[in-house]
Amino acid sequence: MASAGSQVAELASKLYDACVNEFDPDHLFYQNDFLNLKVIPKNDVALLLECTQSLVNQNLFRLLQKDGKLTWKLIDREDAEKLRNLTPDEAMVYNVIHSTERTGIWVRHIGNRTNLHKSILDRCLKSLEGKNYIKSLHNVKYPSRKMYMLAGLAPSEEVTGGAWFTDGVLDANFINSVAGYIEYTVSRKSWYEVPASDRKKRIKTASGKAEVRSDEKTYLPYPHGYTGYPTVAQITSAVNDSGITPVRLGEESIVQLLEMLCYDNKLVALGNGEWYRSLKNPEAVKANQSRKAPIEGDDLSVANKHLVKNGMTEAPCGQCPVFKLCAPGGAVSPETCEYFDPWLNNGLGF
């Protein structure tokens, strides 16, 4: 019996090694996969089951069920070592957390799946966290839920909300700095800068209008069908090379940001998002960005000067807080309006 047991153990370790060598670690093993390895003599199914069971007991295999069939998955020897040191409760919790992979799992769901009492569960989680096997994480979608995942994994985009979230909160400063960089980079590639030597000739012949701008750079638009506009891949690599991001940003994150810039009317997507073109030339972009900063905290009238205007935004009525109440002869009326006089004086002042 003892020899049979040692024979099984030997076979089992052979089987495990064969599996590690032949398949990638994430492979899902069916019974046939093992039989095809020709490790088990005479393809004895009963013997195979004994072997797999011993491997499962050693925490080298994980038993799973798929479409009503038994399947197995490999576990690293290191992980198996970890698991062997755990109490059965802890191992159960660890397995549940392991099964959710990068999405993480809510504490209440662990409780439901393991049927452990809350205090035992808490103890298990604490000890697992103490051993640095699992970590708690912050889900953007459910900020109030306490969630756990394996310590070695990076949380998925779904959980973190993508590259733009730090600890589940949108990182506005980071976004703005990357967005500003992208806008400028794209802008530089979207406009043709007239070389300096050429510009001088222009000045000689041009009438007054061109002379005024002589010290500025002249930018020309590219013709229709121009294909030199930056692509998403180019922009992504430019951002990653620039050193303004602590982490490498993926293309999806950059696309997200590019779309936002399109909504800001700063960029335009061409050819179904293949290329991006900037609407403003680099000078204008730079001027715009340097201007933005001091505005915060300034009073609204100063900020308004930069904005595009139309009849309604400049008329006193357009900004009047009691416009809805205004009626001739009423408490608020055009005759008693206190906004018109300053507005008229302001208008006549310049």
């Binding site: 979608k141 993508g162 733009w164 949108l170 506005a172 976004i175 406009w191 043709y192 007239v194 070389p195 030597s197 050429d198 000739k201 222009r202 012949t205 041009a206 009438s207 209008k209 061109a210 020309l220 638009p221 590219y222 013709p223 229709h224 069908g225 121009y226 294909t227 030199g228 997200q256 940001l257 779309e259 936002m260 909504y263 800001d264 009317n265 335009v268 061409l270 073109r277 609407l279 403003k280 904005l307 595009v308 205007k309 139309n310 009849g311 309604m312 935004t313 400049e314 008329a315 009525c317 357009g318 900004q319 416009f323 205004c326 001739p328 055009p334 005759e335 008229l344 208008g347 006549l348």
Partner: protein, 641 residues
């Protein structure tokens, strides 16, 4: 039908232009809609004499429709708010006509506007049109603020002509009228113009329905037949187009040409370096009112039928004004040459576009099909464009990798340029010119504005303009400007996202707009208070618990547009009312300046301080009127384009 705000505005405009009697009649008609004379008299509490006098004059100015019913023999009167509103646009229109056709044409149009409608014979007798007069710049104009229509009208009606410096030049009345007619700015007055469109329509359908052949039809077929025939009949009855026979090769007579003279451009193809920057000689071309004497002299000698009665065609002028807005859009980021070319394209299209849109109301967002303008052949645009316009110099090279100094496309650099680009100036009149113009139009066709659309008809490249889409874009731009100024650029981004994606819950909205929750909620809440965005609740169960309800934000531009339009009317009214109030504050002083002996001789009778005061007052008035006209730009976008 009429909102309170627009009714108020129309009343104010009429009062401002024609006085209280007209305003009173108009208000009564607006309040009670159609009225017979006895009812009108009852409500307006006016004497017969006043009423008759007022009504006849208002009919002359098209401020009132009248209709005599065949059933009961009564004549009904009805207000014409469109005509009342267009009073505010008169200044802008005159400015446009002056730019296009010269000062004298603007004067003629002004005279027609002042009279409401007029026969040619009557125009011939008008002293101010008989000879070219030098207009004294009045206080408003030299401030650089847009001239205001009502002011001009008032002044000219009041001012005696005596002090205008008159120079004896042959009258250009007939050629000018012809060029106005060929542009479609004036049209023939028809009897049907005195009746409201609804009456015309009902009348026409009644006549059609009583026809024996239509009577035999049944059901849907009959209804469709009646509608079609009635439409044709109304069109035929109101058609006043005078441009037939006055348009040559798609260009109306008197149209200001971009090119110098005839075909001179193609006959000396080598551009001679000196005219490096173009466009300035276009500006230099001083309007002397004899542009049309270039060609077609023989046609000029035939005067227009003096029995013809003409009036201003506001529909057509809206088309021209709309085109100027499109041009402004183009100016924002297209190179100047493209803008010039776009101008030529728009001119060509304008000549063939009778009105801004066919439907009476602006269709709802998303339900509006695209409606293209007439296609214009590339070759005819090439003809129109100034041959000295530097086309190649303002587009970058096509190749992504750009080598310094290889942009030798300007004629000047002929000797220096190496590889490519020189073929362009070897033969500027030929195919390359067309290719370059095509390039410029392509630049304009790019997103986000899509100002032009290329369309190939049987192998010939043509260009057209997608009017509905552009008009919609104009509307959105106006809204976005307001949102930006009220709620900041964060709000602008949110609104654009909502507009592009439809209804969104907060989480999705945050993911797309990449805004922190706090900012997002604040802007959404303040925009909701302002009526720009709205919240829809979708309960997940019958109890409608807030915790089990999905909240979706959305942005409905139609709704916002209509509410902003009302606000704009109201703001215009407020400005006009403020002028009235300011005037009453200064009444004593203004009465002095308006005394017949003082008026025109202000320098003699008024002290230095008083003159200063007068200047201040005029500037103030001009500022308010300019604001009204700016608001009118918005009304045009929301309502007319």
């Amino acid at each position: 039908m009429m909102s309170q705000c627009s009714a108020e505005l129309c009343m104010l405009l009429i009062e401002d232009n024609f006085g209280e009697l007209f305003a009173r009649i108009f208000t009564v008609l607006q309040r009670y809609e159609r009225l017979t004379l006895p009812r009108l008299k009852f409500y307006a509490r006016l004497t017969d004499r006043q009423l008759h006098h007022g009504l006849s004059a208002m009919i002359q100015h098209h401020l009132i429709y009248h209709f005599t019913s065949l059933d009961d023999g009564n004549t009904y009167y009805e207000a014409n708010p469109q005509a009342a509103y267009s009073l505010v646009r008169s200044g802008k229109i005159l400015q446009l006509v002056e730019n296009r056709l010269g000062e004298y044409a603007a004067q003629v149009l002004e005279a027609i506007m002042m009279l409401g409608h007029s026969s040619i014979a009557h125009l011939e007798t008008l002293p101010e049109l008989k000879s070219k007069k030098q207009r004294i710049p009045n206080g408003v104009h030299h401030d650089g603020i847009k001239a205001e229509g009502e002011e001009e009208v008032e002044e000219d009606s009041a001012a005696p002509n005596g002090d205008h410096a008159e120079s004896e030049e042959p009258a250009h009345l007939h050629p000018t009228l012809k060029s106005l007619a060929s542009h479609g700015y004036i049209h023939r007055l028809r009897e049907a113009h005195f009746q409201s469109p609804n009456d015309n329509w009902l009348n026409a359908s009644r006549i059609v329905a009583s026809r024996p052949d239509v009577k035999q039809m049944k059901g849907k077929q009959q209804a469709a037949e009646i509608e079609q025939k009635a439409k044709d009949m109304v069109k035929e009855k109101t058609e006043g187009d005078l441009s037939r026979g006055l348009i040559y090769n798609g260009i109306p007579r008197g149209a200001k040409r971009k090119r110098n003279h005839g075909n001179s451009g193609s006959s000396n193809p080598a551009p001679n370096g000196t005219n490096g920057v173009n466009g300035d000689h276009v500006d230099d071309e001083v309007e002397e009112g004899n542009d049309w004497s270039d060609d077609e002299d023989d046609v000029d000698s035939i005067p227009m039928d003096s029995n013809l009665i003409v009036r201003v065609n506001y529909e057509k002028l809206d088309v021209a004004l709309r085109n100027t807005r499109f041009l402004e859009l183009a100016e924002q980021d297209a190179p100047s040459a493209s803008v010039e070319i776009y101008d030529c394209l728009l001119r060509r299209i304008e000549y063939q576009t009778p009105r801004c849109r066919d439907t009476f109301e602006i269709p709802r967002e998303g339900e509006e099909g695209e409606q293209y303008s007439v296609p214009i052949q590339l070759s005819s645009i090439v003809e129109d464009v100034d041959p000295h316009l530097d086309l190649a110099g303002c587009i970058g090279p096509m190749e992504p990798s750009t080598v310094l100094n290889r942009r030798g496309k300007r004629p000047l650099d002929d000797d220096t340029n190496g590889v490519n680009g020189d073929e362009h100036e070897d033969e500027p009149s030929g195919k390359n010119r067309a290719y370059e113009i095509d390039q410029h139009l392509s630049i304009l066709s790019q997103p986000p504005l899509n100002l032009t659309t290329k369309h190939v008809i049987s192998g010939l490249p043509t260009w057209r303009v997608a009017f509905r889409g552009l008009a919609r874009k104009l509307r959105h731009l106006e809204l976005e400007r307001m949102i930006e100024s009220r709620y900041g650029d964060v709000a602008l981004r949110v609104v654009r996202v909502l507009h592009a994606k439809g209804k969104l819950d907060e989480k999705r909205l945050q993911e797309i707009s990449l805004l922190p929750f706090k900012d997002l909620r604040q802007t959404l809440a303040s925009m909701q208070t302002g009526g720009f965005v709205d919240l829809q609740e979708v309960p997940r169960d019958a109890q409608r618990q807030p915790s089990k309800t999905i909240y979706l934000w959305y942005y409905d531009p139609d709704r916002v547009c209509s509410s902003i339009l009302e606000d704009t009317y109201k703001a215009m009214s407020r400005c006009l009312q403020r002028i009235k109030f300011e005037r009453s504050r200064e009444r004593d002083f203004l009465e002095k300046t308006e005394r017949t002996d003082v008026k025109g001789h202000e320098e003699e009778f008024l002290s230095e301080a008083e003159l200063e005061h007068l200047r201040n007052w005029k500037a103030k008035e001009a500022l308010l009127l300019a604001e009204v006209s700016r608001l009118d730009d918005m009304v045009a976008v929301f309502r007319d384009y």
